[in-house]
Symmetry: C2
Subunit: 209 residues, 2 copies
């Protein structure tokens, strides 16, 4: 604690710069400079830049997934049929909570998550373990019970929408401040607004064909 080891300082710096500039935009030299470490430290501790990214993403995603899973456990222990609002809270809440725990009110972490879910066919694709898929499956079936009549395709579309809204939170959109209000908004307010927004969205009746 008095002397934080080089490895975690590199992880911190990499999380910062990957979120801000993307994987290709953040150079190993910039990361090690920010971390106060030597250039070769990345190779020594992680093997390569891609493996460093995997470590960064894992560190961000794992607590979120654990919280999502625990929240669903808590819900299902009480009733086999949770309400949509409860499912949304348990699923989307951790995305905000873990982000708030980070620096700058989570603005940086939300950017990182946005890059993770938005980068197709990049080095961002190697980190996923089975935990993510498991949690997704469990929420999918829970939502299916809570929203009868919704096709699996439309349900999956909605869940992706939840992820999108959570990820875009507090990322400045469209080049600058919104016209009539301050941004980024306070973290806790954004969390409540998102739950309201997403609960209404998930609860919408199925789209008629």
């Amino acid at each position: 604690m008095a002397a934080p080891d080089t490895r975690t300082q590199i992880l911190d710096a990499a999380e910062h710069l990957f979120a801000e500039h993307g994987f290709r935009g953040a150079s190993v030299r910039a990361i090690t400079d920010l971390a106060g470490a030597n250039l070769a430290a990345v190779g020594y501790h992680f093997g390569s830049k891609a493996e460093l990214l995997a470590a960064v993403v894992r560190r961000v995603v794992e607590p979120i997934n654990a919280a999502q899973s625990a929240g669903l456990d808590r819900l299902l222990a009480r009733t086999p049929d949770p309400a949509v609002s409860e499912l949304v809270e348990a699923f989307a809440g951790p995305l905000f909570d873990e982000m708030l725990a980070g620096d700058a009110g989570g603005a940086r972490t939300s950017r990182l998550i946005m890059r993770i879910i938005g980068d197709p066919a990049e080095e961002m694709r190697e980190w996923t373990g089975s935990a993510e898929a498991t949690v997704r499956d469990r929420y999918l079936t829970a939502f299916e019970r809570a929203l009868p009549g919704l096709s699996p395709e439309e349900l999956w579309f909605r869940i992706r929408g939840v992820l999108a809204v959570a990820a875009v939170d507090r990322v400045e959109v469209y080049n600058g401040q919104p016209p009539n209000c301050v941004s980024p908004v306070a973290g806790q307010a954004a969390r409540r607004w998102a739950i309201t927004f997403l609960t209404a969205a998930m609860s919408a009746p199925p789209t008629g064909d």
Copy 2:
């Protein structure tokens, strides 16, 4: 001006590769190779790689903005107080329509938009003109009238959510196929699903403090 205009072929190739690999991930050499043009053609026709990006983004964003503006005009010509569902349709609809006009059912364009709104402090920041801000402002005041009691901050949060859902459309999320259904979904279905989803979300009552 005939069939193989080098300038537009470079624009097409750049739109493809910027969407797929991002600004830094798409090299000028890869773009000119895909376009069947010479490396120096980018410098000649656009000046630099950053200006090429600006041209690409402009070409994608301008028709969307024009359609959004025209849709609001049409609405306001009929009634001074359009319903929330009408505003959502007029605002989010063009994001899908213009994407459908593109290749691959718009999957690539949606990725490009996602990169645009997700890249802070990058070269993605130079393209915006006054048209975007104007359209945003007009929708903001229209939504304010349709949703009394909603604070400007929460309203802006919701509009960003609409953009996020539209942008993430058909981008494969979380590394691979969703567990129980095919993806990417058909474009027209996604458009209807999104309107349903977002109308319900925008219509949610204000979050209590």
